[in-house]
């Protein structure tokens, strides 16, 4: 009897709490995420589309964007192969110190990017043993493009692996068995049975590592040497423009990177919807 009289009051109180919590959540996201993006947009509007277009199409900013894009693409292509192979080996095969290797996969997420850059300079820099030997053959890793790719490979290492691994673990083996008993070769089984199942996960991991590679700063700024037209990537270019007070230049290249990040997120959303559609079929 008593509790039944309490119900309307309780739901009323709950509704108030819910609105309070919802307001808190929306407010926090609005303040922390939306407001800074809006500020960048407002700053671009303030400079005027003409100035933004001029700054974006400058030879040096275009060169930095192109370089970033190409190096990120190379990194992602390498990641797709090595990441899928690593996930496969970690899930399907047994070998000594497998647990240790599995633990190492996450390490690039935890190591500060500056430390990554310094580690690579120590190992491959002109003063190191490897660097000296390669230098004799005219090969330069640090302060050149191979160094940037190496840094990008390090920081994006976990994405494809961590995307593919859970799918591979949960994958039913009956399809593979069926293909095998029907006489398919291992390569046929991989390309016609395993790969289609893994594809959404591989693409998601690739998209994540592409967005990370596009935006990477800490390790690249140390490794690259930042020579315009040669090793100056877009994030480092933006940093340089901020430092030299050219805020319009920084705004324009930032807008390009931000648009790319948005598109990648939308792409990942569609990849995941597509894979969910396939699951229900």
């Amino acid at each position: 009897m008593k509790s039944s009289t309490n119900w309307p009051m309780k739901t009323e109180c709950l509704r108030k709490n819910v609105f309070c919590l919802r307001g808190l959540a929306v407010g926090y996201i609005g303040f922390l995420i939306l407001l800074p993006i809006a500020a960048l947009g407002a700053s671009a509007f303030h400079s005027g589309p003409g100035a933004i277009w001029r700054e974006t199409t400058l030879l040096r900013s275009m060169a930095s964007l192109k370089l970033t894009f190409i190096l990120a693409l190379m990194t992602v292509i390498l990641n797709i192969f090595t990441g899928t192979a690593t996930a496969w080996v970690l899930v399907r095969y047994e070998f000594p110190c497998k647990k240790f290797i599995n633990g190492l996969i996450d390490l690039p997420f935890a190591i500060p990017t500056v430390v990554t850059g310094i580690m690579l300079v120590v190992l491959y820099g002109p003063n190191s043993m490897i660097g000296a030997v390669l230098g004799r053959f005219g090969l330069e890793i640090i302060f050149n493009q191979p160094g940037i790719v190496l840094a990008l490979l390090f920081v994006t290492f976990p994405f494809v692996i961590r995307a593919v691994q859970p799918v591979l673990i949960e994958m039913e083996k009956d399809l593979e068995e069926a293909a095998m008993t029907l006489g398919a070769s291992p390569f046929q089984i991989f390309f016609k049975v395993v790969l289609p199942t893994l594809l959404p996960a591989i693409l998601t991991g690739a998209a994540l590592s592409f967005s990370r590679a596009l935006g990477e700063f800490g390790s690249v700024v140390i490794v690259a040497g930042n020579i315009p037209f040669k090793t100056l990537t877009a994030p480092v270019y933006i940093y340089g423009e901020i430092e030299s007070g050219n805020l319009t230049g920084a705004t324009s290249v930032s807008l390009v990177l931000l648009t790319l990040s948005f598109s990648i997120l939308v792409l990942i959303h569609f990849i995941q919807r597509w894979s969910r559609c396939h699951e229900t079929d």
């Binding site: 190591i111 500060p112 994540l208 997120l265």
Partner: protein, 280 residues
């Protein structure tokens, strides 16, 4: 017809298996272990006294202290708001929810330099907000509040991303029954919801800590890296390195690498309890 187990089938092709495993191990060795080993060797080769001395220098100590406060702030605020946002995203339906969900991942995709620059355009000298706070005598850019804000931005998704799948899987039945039995919403949360998401939450917090310790680009842009004032540990490493003070840089970098190694071990530990469901 003989039915063969695929694991056995792959295992029979020893050559392929061995080649693949060998190649992957070599790749991990070259890409991850080699650089780590190289740096630790450099530190061990240097004089331990000078390493220790550089770590105990006032500017080094101050930078680690600053990193500690930023990390603490990020953990407290993003855990609290992360819990609220995750609960709302999973348990409630409202207009604009899809947009809200899409925004959660954004900090992962945005370049740290762009993050820093966005906050400069928001709170910088020329902006309305910057002007407003400047008149009140509060500095945001090139000061602690700005650094705190960018750290919050870059670590924002971790806790939410880890809790949302757990909450979804867990369902509402137990919460509903607790509520019907007369528990208040706070009691329901504390005694029913929280224990079920404990490990996911812990994993999210660990990732938040690791990221806020390691954040460099965004903090560099916003802080101006003023020595003894707005220099975090990663900025200190960078400054020592660019000043050719390699002993100091390597020593501080090794400390950071060791800290991240400890966190990786913790992640491994909690991941066993979460069963992996991360990074989609």
């Amino acid at each position: 017809m003989k039915r063969t187990n695929p694991v056995k089938f792959w295992a029979q092709r020893l050559s392929l298996r061995h080649v693949l495993t060998g190649m992957v191990l070599l790749w991990v060795l070259l890409l991850i272990l080699f650089p780590l080993g190289g740096m630790f060797q450099k530190v061990l080769a240097a004089e331990p006294v000078s390493c220790l001395k550089s770590l105990l220098a006032p500017s080094a100590r101050l930078s680690f202290k600053l990193t500690f406060w930023l990390t603490l702030g990020a953990v407290i605020l993003n855990t609290f708001f992360g819990l609220v946002i995750a609960l709302i995203l999973v348990r409630q339906n409202f207009r604009g929810k899809l947009l809200l969900e899409g925004l959660i991942d954004l900090p992962f995709a945005v370049s740290p330099v762009v993050t820093g620059f966005m906050f400069i355009t928001l709170f910088g000298n020329n902006s309305i907000m910057g002007h407003f706070f400047d008149e009140k005598g509060i500095r945001i850019i090139y000061a602690f509040p700005g650094m705190m804000l960018v750290t919050l931005f870059v670590t924002f998704p971790f806790v939410i991303r880890e809790i949302v799948p757990v909450l979804k899987e867990y369902g509402v039945e137990q919460e509903e029954s607790a509520y019907v039995l007369g528990a208040s919403s706070w009691q329901t949360f504390r005694k029913v919801t929280l224990p079920s998401i404990k490990w996911g939450l812990l994993y999210g917090i660990t990732l938040t800590i690791a990221r806020s310790i390691g954040e460099f680009g965004a903090v560099l842009v916003v802080s101006g890296a003023i020595i003894n004032k707005t220099q975090t540990a990663t900025l200190y490493v960078h400054q020592q390195f660019t000043d050719f003070n390699y002993t100091g840089a390597f020593a501080a970098a090794s400390v950071l690498a060791l800290i991240s190694f400890v966190f990786i071990m913790m992640i491994q530990f909690s991941q066993k309890k979460v069963k992996g469901g991360t990074w989609e």
